[in-house]
Symmetry: C2
């Protein structure tokens, strides 16, 4: 019979995870005390600032357990945090993982979740140094705090965009939104895990290496990840930088997969590109003369496409969308908002 | 009508909390970026190591919403984290707060929770620099990551106890367990919030100042907080230090309030002292010749009583309890274990 958490208890689980991380994890230089005391400790490198972020996934809300393997839940939870560190130009160092789990959760599922965490952290030489297990009978959640480092001169903010900047975006935002829609429309026994858009939703590809390369190039002004959706996060840049934006719809990078899925879903692919979507791409703004430098910086570390989709304007907090037919529309940067009522319905 | 989260949304809540913290919070030196970007940033002080801990409270499991004000929920959640930093000899610096909230949660309740966080952090010059809000319809939770600093030579570990050490404990462990029992036995409309043992449960008094003073004295060997209960945490010291312990029951500090409640509850006060209890006191071990130095170090910063309750032995991982009638018992360091089945029942 498969072991459940009630069989081994909290302290038993801590020991199992410690042993697993010894086996599959890495040792991050500077970490002086890992799991096993009241707190973990580490010695920061001189000359660096520390970046700290936290992000939480709730089962059924941020992932659909029927459609994702436990290891991919782990990868997803860690990738969204790595994305935040990368969007600041930083390098991930160490993580604390706080889990709310049920008594009947399988031990092997928790172990596989940690394999997913390690798969995302190991390439950075980053490790899990602490955390917490709590019994949560109604809601499984994964709350991760990730610490990274960055040289002060390289920190990338959302508040530093300049009127006239080009707006660049990595990858293909909107794919995760389409993947989620496909899952929500799936038939009872349909297995869509291998569908590329479902994979884009389940295990989003953070752009931390690209973010670090852009930061080191010193050629970009503002950067943010698209965790709230392209439009909402461009809106954050406009809000914090006191600028506006002009978007050229025909320049939007829409993957063939997304075009195909949009037809199937009866949706506008450009709408999927703009709206809330769990892609973790980067929006970058830079002076038009530096666009090719930013491209080269990214090309040196990755094959991720970068597309210029518009420019930053002086029209404070206004976002204008130019359609292929020549019409211009003011659009509102509404993004993913967990609590807000929209049309009378909780989203 | 009172505002709920669905009225103002996630971004509205972020703005409200930012404004509130501007008003009631402090600015921690070294923090270079607070709430409002993909990550927060700070510049660590040269010569210090960083301590990181996280602890999570779940409504109904770690606090009973009917019996506690939202501000005290905030104090409780922050105090248990401050306790972990203090038990390492460290000073709290900055916190990330991750909340799982319902759409119908009152905005004022969340604001009062933050007032509670600030009440605990402000005396240390520590502040909230980031976090996350997630909609969680079934379970409200508060997950906090707290970062502190300590000079390397002052780090206090649970793994450094020596055979022959005196075992000291601060305050009156067991009071929180009794307070919780009183709440669990309360009648439908009974309000016990002002009962001192209920207060001990609702808003435990961390011993961070005492922990720092003990660490600076350089006279103690091992230290841990009693978050799992006195016996379980003494067990952690024995396990990690490869030692045993001898406890003298008649020396246990039992407050008059606890004696009275034990009679009312039909329980043994010494059992309440030993078992799982949400007190956040410190267990300290030190060479017998340094007991008075440790006492003096604590007296210089606090009126918290310190009691010598036994000694560390070479009998690896064995804990012996000597009763007033001269009998000796081997006891097992079982503590608070969220998942483990005990007598067939989930606790």
């Amino acid at each position: 019979m498969s072991e459940i958490l009630a069989d081994i208890g909290e302290f038993g689980l801590i020991q199992r995870i410690q042993e697993l991380l010894q086996e599959i994890g890495v040792h991050t230089p500077g970490v002086t005390l890992e799991i096993g005391d009241d707190a973990a400790s580490f010695k920061p490198r001189p000359g660096y600032e520390l970046l700290i972020t936290c992000d939480c996934l709730i089962e059924g809300r941020h992932y659909l357990p029927r459609h994702i393997a436990p290891m991919d839940v782990g990868r997803r939870a860690m990738a969204v945090n790595i994305s935040d560190i990368g969007a600041m130009g930083g390098h991930p160092l160490c993580a604390l993982v706080s889990l709310g789990l049920k008594s009947e959760t399988l031990v092997v599922d928790v172990e596989n979740m940690y394999r997913g965490f390690a798969e995302e952290l190991n390439p950075f030489g980053a490790s899990i140094i602490g955390g917490n297990f709590t019994k949560s009978e109604n809601t499984v959640f994964i709350d991760i705090t990730l610490i990274g480092e960055v040289r002060k001169k390289n920190i990338m903010l959302r508040s530093a965009a300049q009127a006239g900047d080009a707006i660049l975006v990595t990858g293909y935002p909107g794919q995760a939104a389409a993947g989620l829609k496909l899952l929500q429309n799936a038939k009872a026994n349909e297995n869509l895990r291998a569908h590329p858009l479902v994979q884009a939703y389940n295990v989003p590809t953070h752009r931390a290496r690209e973010g670090q390369a852009i930061a080191r190039s010193s050629k970009a002004n503002a950067m943010i990840d698209t965790s709230d959706g392209f439009l909402a996060d461009l809106g954050h840049i406009c809000q914090e930088s006191n600028v506006g934006a002009l978007l050229i719809q025909e320049k939007f990078p829409i993957s063939d997969e997304l075009k195909k899925a949009a037809v199937q879903l009866g949706m506008d692919p450009c709408q999927l590109f703009l709206q809330e979507s769990d892609d973790y791409e980067l929006i970058i703004t830079c002076s038009p003369e530096y666009v090719s430098f930013v491209r080269s910086a990214v090309e040196a570390v990755s094959k991720t496409p970068i597309t210029e989709v518009g420019k930053i304007t002086a029209a404070v907090k206004e976002i204008q969308l130019n359609l292929p037919d020549g019409t211009k529309h003011q659009i509102s940067p509404l993004g993913w908002d967990h609590f807000k009522l929209k049309g009378g319905e909780n989203v």
